[in-house]
């Protein structure tokens, strides 16, 4: 079996080397996305209407006044950065923990009493700070609200030393990237995803189109050897685009990974493993090289957008989130920026397991379909 696996790997890599057209989408798509995102972010101002919760636990007039200011403040730009929704503390906290709320502001009990008694009053802001630009806007909004409440503090020399309330800002991560840095990082992942999926889809479609795969399928080679061989060959092939795109993106955008490089490579590896059998399935069903290329590019782009590559998906409708949750690209997009921008391994388990599960299940499906392909009833 090892000999058959080695033969399949050798054959697949030779084919990839001699027909490297699969690299095209892997090198074009990420840069197109990056360009579009840069233009969009710099000219329009980024995402809109991220929901922010407001919890008012105090019933004093001061607390109501503060809440009114936060809710009714008019944006200083033409773009509404986020909306304010009132929740009770339990609901807000649940939504926050599940990342359905990117942030919430808490006006705690005793807020009004502190003001009237001359003590410091505190407004608490909790932020899922996955994106620096969004965080800044939440914080600025609250700062503006406090300034308004304090009446008299004027930007830029606002001085809160005599203010009646102060801000206690809580960040769950030590550093957050800007939108462009975030997009640069995920573009590297996007390049790999496009390469893994399109190269496998194109290879499989070509082999079915020319019927060349029939020789392999009709041989006594175990189906497991076939799946393992093709998966192993897909790993270096999928990384080949990243060898070009990653240095170019890092150098031109000035974005470098802060997290553990081995964990990052591990995430890329899991991504390849999960996407290769999907590419195989696309190729097997479409059986036309050009159409397989289009279908796989479409899958990658849809998966990237739906998985939160361009904007957080936490606030999208539940049905959309469910769909996004079953696409492996979503989980790669959860893992990649988390490790890319911080040296943390927390919160990686669920998505890693999902990618491994996708690999195993999809490989089994592909092996079964290939078996049926040559042993039809």
């Amino acid at each position: 079996m090892l000999r058959a696996i080695a033969a399949i790997v050798k054959k697949d890599l030779k084919q990839a080397k001699r027909d490297p057209k699969f690299l095209g989408p892997s090198l074009i798509i990420p840069f197109v996305f990056l360009l579009v995102y840069t233009i969009m972010w710099t000219s329009v101002g980024g995402g809109e209407s991220f929901a922010c919760g407001l919890v008012v636990e105090d019933i004093s007039p001061e607390a109501n006044e503060m809440a009114d200011i936060i809710e009714n403040m008019v944006s200083t730009t033409n773009h509404t950065w986020f909306s304010i929704e009132r929740y009770d503390l339990t609901t807000a906290d649940e939504l926050y923990q599940s990342t359905s709320l990117i942030a919430y502001i808490l006006i705690p009990e005793g807020f009004g009493d502190n003001i009237t008694s001359g003590q410091d009053a505190v407004v608490v802001m909790l932020i899922n700070n996955a994106n620096d630009d969004v965080v800044k806007n939440y914080v600025h909004r609250l700062e503006a609200a406090v300034l308004l409440f304090n009446q008299g503090a004027v930007y830029p020399e606002f001085d809160q030393s005599d203010a009646r309330i102060a801000i206690d800002e809580t960040f769950s991560l030590t550093a957050t990237p800007s939108n462009l840095e975030y997009m640069a990082a995920v573009s590297i992942l996007l390049s790999l995803m496009a390469c893994a999926l399109t190269s496998q889809a194109m290879l499989t479609a070509t082999e079915f189109e020319t019927k060349a795969l029939q020789d392999t399928l009709n041989s006594p080679t175990p189906r497991l050897a076939l799946v393992i061989g093709r998966t192993i060959a897909a790993i270096p092939r999928s990384f080949s685009a990243s060898l070009i795109s990653a240095p170019v993106i890092c150098l031109t955008m000035g974005v470098y990974p802060a997290g553990n490089i081995f964990i990052l490579i591990g995430i890329l590896l899991l991504t390849i493993l999960a996407l290769v059998p999907i590419g195989e399935l696309i190729g097997m069903k479409i059986r036309n090289r050009e159409q397989a290329l289009l279908a796989s590019v479409l899958f990658v782009m849809a998966g990237f957008i739906l998985g939160g590559g361009m904007a957080p998906i936490g606030l999208s409708p539940a049905s959309v989130r469910v769909v996004a949750g079953i696409i492996p690209t979503t989980h790669s997009l959860i893992l990649w920026p988390r490790v890319f921008f911080s040296d943390s391994v927390l919160g990686l388990t669920t998505s890693s397991l999902f990618l491994i599960g996708t690999w195993i299940v999809m490989s089994a499906v592909v092996a079964h379909l290939m078996k049926r392909e040559v042993e039809r009833s």
Partner: protein
């Protein structure tokens, strides 16, 4: 009980494709070890379906296919090792060289490592591709690809060779080389089953011919036997004037006292050609001409020849288009 010298036994084989298309209908025949068998039949008769059943690519809807005494569907991996299959489509990896293609095949079929190089060299020699062994397959002509596909199917020393349209679309030189290799394989003791639409190919190579039509076995035997049985030893061909368009082969048979296989029906209403079966050739020819003249017809031209397998094929399957 399978006879010891049968390598393939097909019994009551039926296959129905999706959409209720019956490709094979209760087909039965055996292939003896060392035989060179031609499967003939019109397009869609079930030839390719039959070989796909033997190779295990398709599973029977009913009936059984045994190779070397083993039911194919239950012993696929073992059977694949002894079968060499060349499909109708030249299914080769276009971005590999001939050498790499054969090396890949050898690895998949577990050819002993120490023998791989020698065997590949021999196969390249057989295919006449030694000088092009390092060129990519996509640069080969159709004939070169067919030759490569043929030697690939015997690289793993297959006992049973199945060739589906082996010389489809190749030039005369390549066809000649392929035929010589097939004869050589038979001489080496291998069993060869081939499907073809070329009657001259079947006539030149086959020890035995199996004719399938509408998924059923309609004839089986050596080319000589089939000719005698279905056409006769000789075929007299006459160009006639005065044969009315309403009169067909049955009318003419009655008039002549010889079996008339068919009569042409030219669109322009000109002279008609009749093909008449004869057992004694030269003796029958003047009798036929005399009887035609007596019946008021003018013989413009007459010739006599031994029947071809094509005549047998048309006699068995008719001349109606099938696709």
């Amino acid at each position: 009980m399978i006879p010891l010298d049968s390598i393939v036994e097909i019994s009551n084989l039926t296959h129905i494709y999706s959409g209720d298309v019956k490709a094979l209908d209760d087909l039965s025949f055996n292939v003896e070890k060392g035989e060179l068998i031609a499967l003939l039949g019109p397009n869609g008769a079930g030839k390719s379906t039959t070989v796909k059943m033997i190779t295990g690519i398709l599973r029977p809807t009913a009936g059984s296919v045994k190779v070397s005494g083993h039911e194919v569907s239950e012993n696929l991996d073992a059977i694949r090792k002894i079968i060499g299959f060349m499909p109708q489509e030249t299914a080769l990896y276009q971005d590999l060289t001939a050498y790499e293609s054969l090396e890949y095949h050898a690895d998949l079929y577990g050819v002993p490592r120490e023998e791989v190089q020698d065997r590949i060299a021999k196969m390249l020699e057989l295919a006449g591709l030694t000088h092009r062994k390092d060129d990519l397959v996509k640069t080969y002509s159709g004939g070169m690809k067919r030759r490569l596909a043929l030697v690939r199917s015997i690289l793993h020393d297959s006992e049973l060779l199945i060739l589906d349209e082996m010389s489809l679309g190749v030039d005369v030189q390549s066809r000649n080389l392929i035929w010589n290799q097939v004869r050589k394989m038979r001489d080496e003791g291998r069993t060869v089953i081939f499907c073809t639409n070329y009657m001259d190919e079947a006539e030149a190579l086959a020890d035995r011919v199996v004719v399938i039509d509408n998924g059923r076995l309609v004839a089986s035997g050596t080319p000589g036997d089939l000719k005698r049985q279905y056409v006769g030893d000789f075929l007299i061909e006459v160009l006639l004037e005065g044969l009315e368009s309403s009169h067909g082969s049955e009318w003419l048979t009655e008039k002549l006292g010889f079996e008339v296989e068919k009569v042409s029906d030219p669109l322009n209403g000109g002279p008609r050609t009749a093909w008449i079966r004869s057992q004694s050739g030269h003796e029958d020819l003047p009798v036929v001409i005399g009887r035609l003249s007596e019946s008021g017809m003018t013989v413009k031209q007459a010739s006599m020849r031994e029947p071809s397998l094509g005549d047998v094929f048309l006699a068995i399957t008719g001349s109606t288009l099938r696709d």
